[in-house]
């Protein structure tokens, strides 16, 4: 890796204590890098640990959750060694987040403009008037009329709320933007609009984006590199081209085959039988082993590490063994 990454995640492991007192390993040994100005996609099915990864990075895990191992280097700082007070400075100013359901992510009793304004003032970035100007600029930038600053979230449509959320995320000019399923609840056309907006913003501001989604199509559309997650682990990690055209992990392969393609009508779709593992009761070997169509006996015993199969292409599958040492 020649260039120094903006965010480097290594061996991130997060556990939850369920209300029943069981331990669920939500993330295990998650590693990836986010380069400056790059978009990285985190894809996986529900329960694969995508959102937990984001929350761990922001250090906003819900009750019962804790990071038990790993390192998260933001530039030269390990975010995991900061105190909560120090961490607060990083939030929004260095890394902002756009949540899935923008209806619920905006405070219903506060004017949209005020919510953006609040974010700016919280970090003492500028004076009141300048902040006010910035609020309107930001709204305009995401395609919302300046006059709608004083409206409440319920007066916005779904797409507008997501835009407003993006505007708010940009309020403190962060270096890194997390987008957690930003388009999931939206119609295809609005989805396309929002994705386009994200692309434009990235081009204009040069920030790095971590896009979390279950939609392989969305990832293919906007991401430079992709992390495929399964059962709380990274199954495969590489450039978008690697993942879509030279997928090495059986899971990735199947997932791609299962994805219907509008350009190829009439194709047969593949499906993956079975269900994802329960995080409280993980198999001893490979997480995907029970559903894998190419498994061998060893798969049920060995938990495969993440190995580099070709430059910048990492796979966690025992069948790819013999490749280089794992990503550390």
């Amino acid at each position: 890796m020649s260039e120094k990454p903006l965010l480097s995640v290594r061996g991130l492991t997060t556990e939850f204590t369920t209300p029943e007192g069981k331990i669920a390993r939500a993330l295990e040994d998650v590693s990836f890098d986010v380069m400056h100005g790059q978009t990285i996609g985190l894809v996986g099915e529900s329960g694969s640990g995508k959102t937990t990864t984001l929350m761990s990075l922001m250090r906003l895990l819900p009750a019962g959750g804790r990071i038990t191992a790993g390192r998260v280097m933001f530039n030269d700082t390990n975010l995991l060694s900061l105190t909560e007070r120090e961490m607060r400075d990083y939030r929004w100013k260095s890394m902002a987040i756009v949540f899935q359901g923008a209806m619920n992510a905006l405070n219903p009793v506060m004017k949209v403009g005020d919510q953006i304004h609040e974010a700016i003032m919280l970090h003492n970035l500028m004076d009141e008037d300048a902040a006010e100007k910035r609020v309107r600029d930001l709204l305009e930038m995401v395609g919302i009329a300046r006059t709608r600053r004083d409206q409440y979230p319920h007066q916005y449509s779904g797409g507008m709320r997501q835009r407003a959320m993006i505007a708010m995320a940009l309020a403190c000019a962060p270096d890194l933007l997390f987008a957690d399923e930003p388009t999931t609840a939206l119609d295809v056309m609005i989805q396309a609009q929002v994705l386009q907006l994200l692309k434009e913003i990235q081009k204009a501001l040069g920030l790095a984006i971590v896009l979390v989604t279950h939609d392989l199509g969305v990832v293919a559309e906007v991401c430079d590199s992709v992390v495929v997650m399964y059962g709380g682990k990274v199954a495969e990690y590489g450039t978008a081209d690697h993942i879509y055209n030279e997928a090495q992990h059986p899971y990735t392969q199947k997932l791609l085959e299962a994805f219907p393609d509008v350009t190829k009508p009439g194709d047969t779709l593949a499906s993956i039988p079975g269900t994802p593992p329960r995080l409280t009761n993980l198999p001893p070997g490979c997480r995907f082993e029970p559903r894998c169509h190419v498994k061998v006996a060893k798969c049920s015993q060995v938990n495969p590490p993440l190995l580099e199969v070709s430059p910048k292409h990492y796979v966690s599958c025992i069948l790819r063994e013999g490749a280089e040492a794992d990503l550390r």
């Binding site: 922001m58 906003l60 007070r85 607060r88 400075d89 990083y90 939030r91 929004w92 100013k93 902002a96 987040i97 949540f99 899935q100 359901g101 619920n104 992510a105 905006l106 405070n107 219903p108 009793v109 506060m110 609040e118 974010a119 919280l122 970090h123 409440y152 319920h154 007066q155 959320m165 708010m168």
Partner: protein, 325 residues
């Protein structure tokens, strides 16, 4: 537009309720057996037939029940003429007005304290969920909720008068009646301690519970996560985003609670011989003074209806969503 519709709707309900109360009050009064005039005539009173007739006319008893008597009665009520108390032989409205302020003082003070304290403690309990503080607050609330109002009053009366020498009843010491204000206020305050305390303890628990569950609900909303992601401290999140949203159910409950507050006043005023409407209601009940009882019911119901309207009005200011629908 939508807000106007909302308020008009609420106003409609209020009118409907008012009509219902009036009709109920009227029917109940007529449903009583016997001739009310008979009972007005006291044990030692030798009242002439003419006087009886005039009383009968005043009560509208010489006309058909509906609609004449109803219309007459409504007219009388509208003029503030709620009939004559049987036990006190004074106009009911006069008696009611003289007690109203005392009750407002007690309820106002009790509500203010319990709402403010309840909101604060509930907020803290919800925030620090499952901590000893929360468990303590919860236990207190549940017990306060389960305690009969009047019994708590009795216990506090015994404890307060025995251990702290606090007055056990009334609103002002006899020697202070008619004295200048600066002498009276501390005395009235002393008399208010126990009833207000009872009031506060009872409603504090309830408001605390509501605030707690309300803030728990709010804190699990995504916009709280947004606020935290913005880099706000817990305290900032709680006060800037949590409180106002959590206050919304509180306002609704407080409005709905007004009726129960009146119940509380009846019990507490009875126990502490506090000279207000509640005590009056109890006395009227014991003395079977129906004009007084029904007049008091009318006044209390109308007050609550009005207060409810005000709460609805306030709500539209607190929750912008109502404005839009």
């Amino acid at each position: 537009m939508a807000r106007r519709d909302y308020l008009l709707g609420k106003f409609g309900i209020a009118l409907l309720t008012l009509l219902f109360v009036l009709l109920l009050d009227f029917i109940l009064f007529r449903v009583l057996p016997g001739d009310p005039i008979r009972a007005v005539i006291g044990r030692n009173v030798r009242i002439s037939a003419e006087v009886q007739e005039s009383l009968r006319a005043q009560f509208g008893l010489d006309k058909p029940v509906f609609p004449d008597q109803f219309v007459d009665t409504l007219g009388q009520w509208a003029q503030g003429n709620l009939g004559v108390s049987w036990s006190q032989r004074k106009p009911v409205s006069e008696i009611l007005i003289s007690k109203l302020w005392n009750t407002l003082l007690l309820i106002g003070l009790g509500q203010l304290l319990s709402i403010v304290l309840g909101a604060i403690l509930g907020l803290l309990a919800g925030w620090k969920r499952k901590t000893p503080f929360d468990v303590g607050a919860l236990t207190f609330s549940l017990i306060a909720w389960a305690t009969p109002t009047f019994w708590l009053g009795i216990i506090l009366l015994v404890a307060g008068s025995t251990w702290f020498g606090l007055p056990t009843g009334g609103i002002v010491s006899p020697e202070n009646v008619g004295k200048p204000l600066h002498t009276v206020i501390p005395d009235v305050a002393r008399h208010l301690i126990l009833p207000t305390l009872t009031f506060t303890i009872l409603y504090l628990g309830e408001y605390m519970l509501i605030m707690r569950s309300s803030i728990l609900e709010v804190l699990s909303e995504d916009y709280i996560l947004t606020a935290r992601a913005k880099g706000m401290s817990h305290f900032q999140v709680l006060t800037k985003h949590g409180l106002r949203n959590a206050m919304l159910p509180m306002v609704t409950i407080i409005a709905l609670n007004l009726g129960f507050t009146v119940s509380g006043a009846i019990y507490i005023e009875t126990v502490f011989s506090y000279d207000g409407l509640g005590n009056l209601v109890q006395t009227a009940l014991v003395k079977q003074d129906y004009p007084l009882l029904q007049g008091a019911f009318l006044l209390l119901a109308v007050s609550v209806i009005i207060a409810n309207m005000l709460a609805d009005f306030l709500y539209t200011y607190l929750d912008p969503r109502v404005k839009a629908n």
